[in-house]
Each structure stands twice: as C-alpha cells, then as structure tokens.
C-alpha cells in the first residue's frame, strides 16, 4: 500500500500584474476625464446628427428644464464673481466678500436676485433642495435673465453661449430665452444635443 501523495499547492495568486493593469486604467481615467457638473434639474437633450464638439472654455451654459425654469453656469470662477458684482450693481445690491466666496464655488446658479442673499446664506444641502424650485425669471416684465447675460458678456467678451434644454420643453419657453438673447444682439449661440446616427438616403 503506497500512500498517494497529494501535492500541496499554494492557492496564493500573484496580484502584481492585476495591480499594474488597474493602475494603468486609473491613470487613463484620471487624465481623460472631465467631471460632470452638478445640475439642479435632470435634462435629456434631444438627439441630433450634428458632430461639432462644444469648446471647453469660455462657456456660458443656459440650462432650461421641462417646466421652463432657467439656470446658468459659467466655467470660470473669477468671471462668476465679477458677473455677480455687476448684476448686484444693476439692482443696487452689494454682496459681502463671504457671499461672493460662496457664490464662486456654486456649480449652477439660478435664483431671483431678491432671493439671492438669503439663498447664499443657506447650507449647501439646503441649497440643493430649494434650487430646483427657483430659476431666473425670464418674463418680459422682470427679465433678470437678460441682466445676467449682459453682465456675463461684459465680464468676458469671448464667452460663448450654449443652450441646454430638455427635449420636452415647450417652444414657448425657448422662444422667450431666444428673444432675450436676440435683444442683447447675441445672435450666435450653440444648442447642446446628444449624438444620433442618421444620414440621408443617397
């Protein structure tokens, strides 16, 4: 009777190679990525065949939700502060340096000017709760949207305007925004869409 020897094998797996791969992937993601900006409302952009990419800098993006609320965001923080000061001057409101500092880091803004001071005093999580119920007024009596765009343009003349609206937004709202822009002689702007593949039959 001979004993059957079972070879004892180590179950240890060498993870070094795996680690190499993950580090490589991580580096790739870190280098290629741009962070998604936090938006107060969920917006589904309509599809289009247009293949022009949006430039990365000097963008004033106008976000329009299905109910017609308008929000804005800018990519340069220094421009945001200057714009706010200019808008404040227009309405006779001066902002303290604390308020300016808080406004600087806002990813998206869209608050009626008279509520802005109270809004900036709130904590970040409370701001998130109320922001989607606010929005910049665009109606013809009190068109604060125009003032914001005008101030932003005065701050940075290279600014490009991009409109990002939900596909179910009624045209009435878009028309108001477009009319306000036309009044300011902002005749060139971009409409943000998502890619759709479709070509003409030849």
């Amino acid at each position: 009777m001979s004993k059957v020897k079972v070879a004892r094998k180590s179950t240890r797996i060498d993870m070094t190679a795996m680690s190499d791969v993950t580090v490589l992937l991580l580096t790739f993601f870190m280098l290629t990525s741009t962070f998604v900006k936090k938006e107060p409302v969920q917006v589904t952009t309509p599809g289009s065949v247009s293949e022009i990419k949006i430039p990365e800098t000097n963008i004033l993006s106008i976000l329009i939700d299905p109910k017609g609320k308008v929000f804005m965001s800018m990519d340069k923080q220094s421009d945001m502060v200057e714009t706010l000061t200019k808008v404040g001057n227009e309405y006779g409101i001066t902002f303290t340096s604390d308020e300016l500092k808080k406004f600087r880091v806002e990813p998206t803004f869209g608050v009626p000017i008279k509520n802005l001071k109270a809004y900036l005093a709130l904590k970040t999580d409370e701001q998130d709760k109320v922001l989607h119920t606010l929005g910049i007024p665009t109606d013809s009596i009190d068109n604060q949207f125009k003032v914001w765009v005008k101030s932003a343009r005065a701050t940075n003349s290279d600014l490009r305007i991009a409109i990002k609206a939900d596909q179910t937004t009624p045209y009435k709202v878009i028309k108001d925004v477009m009319n306000s822009l036309q009044d300011l002689r902002e005749n060139r702007y971009n409409l943000i869409t998502s890619l759709k593949n479709e070509t003409a039959k030849n």
């Binding site: 240890r12 060498d14 993870m15 070094t16 190679a17 795996m18 680690s19 993950t22 992937l25 991580l26 993601f29 870190m30 290629t32 990525s33 741009t34 962070f35 998604v36 952009t45 309509p46 599809g47 289009s48 065949v49 247009s50 293949e51 022009i52 990419k53 949006i54 990365e56 329009i64 990002k164 939900d166 596909q167 179910t168 937004t169 009624p170 045209y171 009435k172 878009i174 028309k175 477009m178 009319n179 822009l181 036309q182 009044d183 002689r185 005749n187 060139r188 702007y189 971009n190 409409l191 943000i192 869409t193 998502s194 890619l195 759709k196 479709e198 070509t199 003409a200 039959k201 030849n202």
Partner: protein, 219 residues
Amino acid sequence: MAEIQSNDGGGKKKKGGSKQKKISVFVDFTPMVDMNMLLITFFMLCTSLSKPQTMEINMPSNDSKITEQEKDKVKASQAITLVLSGGDSVFYYTGLPNYKDFNSLKMTSYKPDGLREFLLKRNTEAVYKINELKQKKLQLKISQEQFTKQVSEIKSGKNTPVVIIKASDRASYKNLIDALDEMQICNIGKYVIDKITPGELYLIKNLQTKGGLSQSAAK
C-alpha cells in the same frame, strides 16, 4: 514577482554551523487592487467621457432699426415654410401662403419618409453635388479644407431652397432640433427660425377643419 528572497548572511554559508535564516518578503497586492478598482469605479461614474454635441445657430437680429427693405427678400419660388405644431406634427407650404385653398398647407411627420423626403426632393441638385464631393473626399482626391469650402459654396448656391422654420407655442424643443437636423441632413444652407404669424395658425386650423374656416368666411 512580488517576492524578495533574502539569504541572511549568505557569505557565511555552511560555516560555523549556524542555522540559515531564509526570509521571504511577499507583498500581498490584493488590497492595492481593491483600492484601485474602487477608484476606477469612482472615476467611471463621475466623469463624462464624451463631450456633448452642439449645433451652431445664427439668429436674425431683433434690431428694429433694420427696415423692411434692408432685409433680404426671399424669392417666393424658393421659400419653404415649415410650421411646427404640437403633437409631433409638422406642416409646410411653399412660396406665399394661400389663405383661400386649405390644401396649400401640407401635413407631414418628422420621420424619414415625411419631411426629409420632401426637402431632399426640393434640394436634389445640392444633395447630388455634395454626395459627389463626399466620394471625392473618401478617395482622398480633395482635402478636408477644400471639402468644407466647396460644401458651403454649394449650400449657399442660387437655386437652393430657403427654409423658414416657424414653431408654434405647443411645439417642443425636440421638434425644433429635429427640424434643424433635417436642414443638416438635407444639406440646406439657408434656413431661419422665425416667429409664427396668426395667418399660419389660421391655415393649420383651416386644414384641420378641411376648409371649414374659409367656407364660413366666404358666406
């Protein structure tokens, strides 16, 4: 790989009868991989890899100083007016609106066999030329710069149609983008977004009631 074997005091091998000390330094990379995977997941979820597409658009100026004469008049034979209405329906008429004949306004859809077919038919010449150019570009006969230059030349040619897009308040933003998209697909270079007039709303109503409005007006 991650193992370092060190012989402590290798020089003194089998001398002096002292016991050898073999230390194996095996670094376990599993937690490292775990952490990396976590980070990768985080970056994948928090980033937008593809930049959004955009459509560039030039709007006519709202300036009231521009008088009617200064505005470019469009030849009636080349003008196509699209009226975007609610419920994903789109109406069109060519030339000047004809308020007497309710059939002058046609109803169509955003599907490829609707609006696109009509526009392509009106723009056959330019579409044909541009397709030829695309072939040339594929065969590397012309460069990208030449291609874009010639395409814009063809698009602004004399016999191409001019499309006026008018959206009613009930149309959605998607409808507008779809209509603008058709302009790109059908290679129409000259198009404009304009305000809807009561006349066009009347035409739509007249078509929906099959001439009921013009009949009652005639009485």
